[in-house]
């Protein structure tokens, strides 16, 4: 794959002040995400991977360096990205479809066009039947599918996902992993996916960026050359997946050993 990067993170550092001290959250991150690629950011908690994702979206300001999308340096919140939150945070006073419409409201679309795009996005995640339901009547897994639809509705160039399945039970998580894998392949979506679940990262990703903590920094990038589609075979039992898992765990374990 020798494609020009869609998203570039250049010399990005982030420090912030608390009352007691100065915290160096991220140090000199350089990362390129190619168009159509599924990239996971993996690391121990506190390694700044969620902060990095928020910086990419523009939700959190950063101290140094730049985020470049399609050759253009980003300032403030980007309208070309869709964000999927771990806490989902569907607005309980809005129906499912009105929740999906929220990003389109920021883009000044008319009511009918908003509805059409939102229903399309819901169709992608298989929830068009639930369009008019209040979100709290849905299961956790369905709610996060609405969260994904909400992000897809704005037709983003990059989909940012922050541990989206972290609060879900194992069965729901696995079925959603398959669904996301299918969906992103079909749409050719570029994804940056934060997780601390190594198996999840291997199953979903084309490449995995490993992070070390305090300060958060990029350790290495690992290619996941497993065949696709991956839901048609047992990825966990695949020899390459086993080797990758060992590699990742040992890479992260070194740090854990030092921290103790």
């Amino acid at each position: 794959m020798n494609v020009k990067p869609l998203l570039e993170i250049r010399h990005l550092s982030h420090t912030y002040e608390t009352k007691r001290r100065r915290v160096e959250a991220l140090r000199d991150i350089n990362l390129e995400v190619r168009a159509g690629e599924f990239m996971s950011l993996v690391g121990p908690s506190g390694c700044g991977k969620t902060t990095l994702l928020r910086i990419i979206n523009g939700l959190t300001p950063h101290s140094e360096g730049s985020v470049v999308l399609d050759g253009v340096e980003l300032r403030g919140v980007s309208r070309d990205m869709g964000f999927v939150f771990q806490d989902i945070n569907l607005l309980p006073w809005r129906s499912v479809v009105r929740n999906v419409e929220i990003g389109l409201e920021a883009r000044g679309l008319g009511a009918r066009e908003r509805r059409r795009q939102a229903l399309n996005a819901l169709r992608l995640v298989g929830l068009e039947e639930e369009a008019e339901a209040p979100p709290y009547t849905l299961s956790g897994g369905m709610q996060q599918r609405v969260g994904v639809a909400r992000a897809l509705a704005v037709e983003p160039k990059v989909l940012l996902m922050d541990e989206p399945f972290g609060h879900l039970d194992n069965f729901t998580r696995e079925s959603l992993q398959i669904e996301i894998s299918k969906l992103c392949t079909e749409l050719g979506m570029t994804v940056v996916f934060v997780t601390h679940d190594v198996d999840e990262a291997i199953f979903l990703s084309d490449r995995i960026a490993l992070f070390h903590s305090s300060p958060g920094r990029l350790a290495r990038i690992i290619d996941v050359d497993l065949p696709r589609p991956r839901w048609q075979f047992n990825v966990r039992a695949h020899p390459l997946a086993i080797r990758l898992r060992e590699l990742i765990v040992s890479e992260l374990d070194v740090r854990r050993g030092l921290a103790i």
Binding site: F83, L91, I102, G103, A106, R107, P134, T137, V154
Partner: protein, 269 residues
């Protein structure tokens, strides 16, 4: 939770659910009967009897005597109270949104909220005389503060996650305010409205007794001065029905327009 052996349920059928209903009903019945019996050995001028009060209550409505005063009172409560609630929510949103505004206004707001506002009735009379304006103004002033403070708290304590959603999807600050922060504050605001609505009734009665004699306040004073205890208590019953009415109305408003408040809270259990 006590666990009743199921064998008992068949004959006596004293399930916890029935007991829950039976206890308050019995308590009310016992008090009413005791009150009625007290009429045989306590001077009826002191506490009257339930039957006498019920008879007078019926007559007050049957003869239409109470309808005029009832209308006046209702008008004061609704107009003064609604004005207080609307202005309270408005100022509360501004104070919640603009820190500087909160810093400037909060000493005064807290001062008025802490003051038992009956003390400003003479001042209100100095300002606008003893007409209906004074009564409306007093109801307004007493209603304003709880809803205002609750609105500020609601705007301040908005779930950061909701605001993040708005920010992440590029909503402008104004859009975040109207589409996310204010709706998210509705549970707080309604709680404030509930307190303010209770105070509106107090403001209404007190101003009718202290500013100028009209409405239910007038009836209370008149019957009291004439030692017509059973009629006085009949008006007391009507006044307490105002309170019940307010509670039911607010419950209906919440269920009809904001069903998500209860449902989403229950879903998070």
């Amino acid at each position: 939770m006590s666990t009743e052996p199921t064998g008992n349920v068949g004959r006596r059928a004293l399930t916890p659910a029935r007991l829950e209903l039976l206890l308050p009903v019995t308590a009310i019945a016992v008090v009413l009967v005791a009150w009625q019996l007290s009429g045989f050995f306590i001077n009826p001028i002191l506490i009257s009897t339930p039957t006498a009060v019920a008879t007078d209550l019926y007559n007050l409505f049957a003869t239409g005597t109470i309808l005029g005063p009832l209308g006046e009172s209702l008008e004061e409560m609704v107009i003064g109270g609604l004005a207080g609630i609307v202005v309270g929510i408005g100022i509360g949103v501004l104070m919640g949104r603009y820190v500087m505004m909160e810093k400037v206004l909060s000493p005064f707001v807290n001062f008025f909220n802490a003051t038992p506002l009956v003390v400003i009735i003479p001042l209100v009379i100095i300002w606008v005389g003893i007409g209906q304006t004074a009564r409306l103004l007093f109801v307004f002033l007493i209603t304003l503060w709880p809803v205002l403070l609750n609105t500020v708290a609601g705007i301040r304590n908005v779930n950061r996650g909701y605001v993040d959603v708005g920010a992440a999807f590029g909503l402008s600050e104004r859009q975040v305010m109207w589409r996310i922060t204010i709706p998210a504050a509705v549970p707080y605001i309604l709680a404030g409205v509930r307190i303010s609505a209770g105070l509106a009734i107090i403001g209404m009665i007190v101003s009718e007794m202290e500013v100028s004699l009209t409405g239910l306040g007038y009836m209370l004073i008149t019957f009291g001065n004439s030692f017509l205890t059973s009629k006085l208590l009949a008006v007391v019953v009507v006044a307490s029905l105002f309170g019940v009415g307010n509670v039911l109305l607010l419950q209906w408003i919440q269920n009809a327009f904001f069903p998500w408040i209860r449902a989403s809270a229950a879903a998070q259990e």
